[in-house]
Amino acid sequence: MTPPNEKSRPSQPPGRIEISFDSIGLRFGSYAALSSLSFDVLQGQFVAIVGPTGCGKSSVLNLVAGLLKPTEGSVRTSGGSLDSINRDAAYMSQHDALLPWKTVIENVMLGPLLRGRPRNQAIKDAEMWIERVGLPGLDKRYPSQLSGGQRKRVAMAQALINRLPILLMDESFSALDAQTRAIMENKLLELWQELKATVLFVTHDLEEAIAMADRVLLFTAGPGARLKGDYPVRLPRPRNVEEARFIPGFLEIYEVVWRNLKEEVLATYAK
């Protein structure tokens, strides 16, 4: 694996707001998952979201995806107020969501095809992406014939091929073994820097969050989760995820966020 070789990139690009939460509330029946949650994400930012289990991290992604609707307030993206599926967002979930009846190439070319690209162009595009995520020669396999890591790569190609401005990732790599995971994380960073997408990355792994992100959002324990902290990660890029913890400054950020996260985790167990 080669660390991404890209020229210096400002860790906080000045720019327009891509995603905006303004006092968002979300209830499931009588359960309040989120209450008056507010934050903005700038275009091109890589934002990691951490918090104790059940704090509504995944709900935030589903709100941005348009798969859930807020019960109070409305989510705004650069395309305006969101009231149905977000056509500008790609989603990579924790679960295996490849279509098992389609081969690798059919899975990857699905996005362009659904969005009306001509078939031969979609195939060409898909071949390129399969190569880029490192699966050459596996085009004709079905997902059941691939390993967990290979399936993740297909999912990544499937999500990125549409080149959408927003990328939502819900513990996408949590099921992978440590080595595969590091490889995938570096791959993602490399592709992100090239695509310049805005990323919301939900994880329960604080080290992963800091190693990858420009900014870490910490949520309070549910119910009624809010923002507890918003920590900029001013570490130089390009980064190699496996070595990030040796970068000066990493541990300071880690300590601050961890202390606050611990309080919330304890609060979850106290309930």
Partner: protein, 267 residues
């Protein structure tokens, strides 16, 4: 599977067949069982062969192939209409929680009804020709396929649906790329049962009221106390079933190839 084991299985299968047929034959010859009721393999086997090979041999004025064709035709159309109707209705109700709630009690009642009792009604309504048998086959096949298609659409993985929608799928595209393939495994697994029921519809319909078909031949033989005729008809039916099953299995392999692939490639 090692070839010796395969050979052993096949030889045991053949041995079992020969053993049962042989036992039957001898039991009839030595009068342990009454050949009048039980016939004997050599007699009804010869009868079936005679039906199939003797050019001028007619049953009710028509050759056995004509009867066979009629039964197959009834089975085919009962199966086709039943599968088509079951898939379409199952799909629509699977997608609409509202209408499936409205229609649920009626579907349950119709399904609980032993549908063979509809046979006399179909004969009254449609006459004794093929149409009443096709209708009976349809009524049997429809519910099997319907429940499977419904289940298949309902059981589709939410993660896959959400993923497809995020990738840009419209409702129609979702149905084509996700719901139909997902339901296909369920629908196909019901086809084996359905083919059998389509044949039941055809043969029972003919048995009750018809002027031709294998069911009619069996019914005629029974009316003449001709056990060999009944068994010969059954023998021909068995061969038909085996051939049709083979066809369904072949179709299944082709339509859900993705499930059939080996995992041996995985790294």
């Amino acid at each position: 599977m090692p070839s010796e084991k395969q050979a052993l299985i096949v030889s045991l299968q053949l041995g079992l067949l020969l053993g049962v047929v042989g036992l039957w034959e001898f039991a009839a010859r030595f009068d342990w069982i009454d050949p009048f009721f039980f016939s004997q393999p050599s007699v009804f086997g010869a009868r079936a062969v005679r039906w199939l090979t003797e050019p001028g041999f007619l049953l009710g004025g028509r050759s056995i192939y004509h009867h066979l064709f009629v039964t197959m035709e009834e089975m085919f159309f009962g199966f086709l209409f039943g599968v088509f109707g079951g898939v379409v209705v199952g799909f629509l109700l699977g997608r609409s929680h509202f209408w499936s709630a409205v229609l649920n009690p009626y579907i349950q009642v119709l399904n609980a009804l032993p549908r063979l009792v509809l046979a006399p009604i179909f004969v009254l309504l449609l006459g004794i020709d093929e149409r009443s048998k096709i209708a009976l086959g349809f009524s049997l096949v429809f519910f099997i396929v319907f429940f499977n298609a419904y289940r298949g659409v309902r059981d589709v993985d939410r993660n896959i649906v959400n993923n497809a929608r995020m990738l840009g799928a419209s409702e129609m595209q979702l149905a084509w790329h996700v719901l139909l393939p997902s339901a296909m495994t369920w629908i196909l697994s019901s086809l084996h049962t359905s083919v059998g029921f389509a044949l039941v519809g055809a043969v029972v319909g003919e048995y009750l009221a018809a002027a031709r078909g294998l069911g009619w031949i069996i019914s005629q033989a029974q009316g003449n106390f001709d056990a060999a005729g009944v068994y010969a008809g059954m023998l021909i039916l068995c061969v038909v079933v085996v051939v049709v099953e083979f066809g369904v299995t072949w179709m299944e392999r082709r339509l859900i190839r993705w499930k059939d692939v080996n995992v041996e490639f995985s790294v």
